[in-house]
């Protein structure tokens, strides 16, 4: 187990999803009629619509926020002091 992989697979990965969600508010902003890059826009639309935001109805906690484990709790509390909006979206595993 590598700490770097742990960091990337939890915090960096989930925040990348956040930025994907916040930066492109509507999947239809990607122009599928563009003559050069329309095909890329097609798969981009599907990805934005179906694979960026949280999967609903998970029965377990997958966030740093709300975890009772001392490591995750410790990291969340300090991260929230820097930026609550980002800290609240830090996931503990990959499920999207």
């Amino acid at each position: 187990m590598f700490p770097i992989g742990f960091f990337v697979g939890t915090i960096l990965h989930s925040l990348d999803h956040c930025l994907l969600e916040w930066n492109l508010e509507d999947a239809l902003w990607l122009d599928v009629d563009d003559p050069r890059f329309g095909k890329m826009a097609e798969i981009g639309r599907i990805t934005r619509a179906g694979f960026v935001e949280d999967v609903p109805f998970l029965y377990f906690n997958k966030c740093f926020k709300g975890s009772n484990h001392p490591f995750y709790k410790n990291v969340y509390e300090k991260a929230a002091k820097i930026d609550t909006k980002f800290a609240d979206r830090m996931d503990t595993c990959i499920v999207k």
Binding site: E42, C93, V95
Partner: protein, 191 residues
């Protein structure tokens, strides 16, 4: 792609000396991230899990997270392309995505093969980017906390210190792409 750091606005973009519109730049940035960059994060995550059954006693939360991550990554890579044909038939995709050459998976593989480049100047973006600032600070918090709770994370590699220093490279790769949401905001034309 040129971004004005002060106004956080798109200035211009080129591909092979051809000017791109903001809309085209948006498509390319988006596709590059989802098809070749983001997959690297998934791949790296496989090196940050431990799903050994002994963790059931030591750290069951980590074990569950590890199992979830391993399963998602496995199915994400091995099953995803099977949806493409269905989406073509539904009209969500044009023909070609599901052909034998498997173009989308090829993009995944190319991204993984390319590895992660170093962008040594990423720290310069801290004053301009709320996101870079957050990630750089939280990285230190994360590593400090990890060292403090290392008894909860068995199976750590002996070369861990060297690896930690390489975290910079990952951050550079990641933040080089989208360092602030305002940088790449695409404003569609008014109807």
């Amino acid at each position: 792609m040129d971004i004005d750091l002060d106004t956080k606005r798109f200035v211009k973009a080129k591909l092979d000396n051809t000017d791109l519109t903001a809309s085209q730049a948006c498509i390319l940035l988006w596709f590059n991230n989802i098809a070749t960059n983001h997959v690297k994060l998934h791949s790296m995550a496989n090196w940050g899990i431990n799903n050994h059954t002994s963790l059931d006693d030591i750290n069951p939360f980590l074990r569950r997270n590890s199992v979830v991550t391993a399963m998602y990554n496995y199915f994400g890579y091995s099953i995803f392309f099977q949806f493409l044909r269905e989406w073509e038939e539904q009209g969500l995709l044009s023909k070609g995505w599901s052909n034998k050459q498997n173009p989308y998976i090829k993009c995944f593989n190319q991204g993984l093969k390319d590895g992660i480049g170093q962008h040594g100047n990423i720290i310069d973006l801290i004053p301009y980017s709320r996101f870079v600032k957050f990630v750089v600070k939280v990285r230190m918090i994360f590593m400090d906390a990890f060292a403090k709770h290392k008894d909860q994370f068995p199976g750590i590699d002996g070369e861990v210190c060297e690896i930690w220093t390489r975290i910079e490279v990952i951050i550079h790769m990641f933040t080089n792409y989208v360092s602030d949401r305002l940088f790449c905001r695409y404003y569609p034309p008014l109807a």
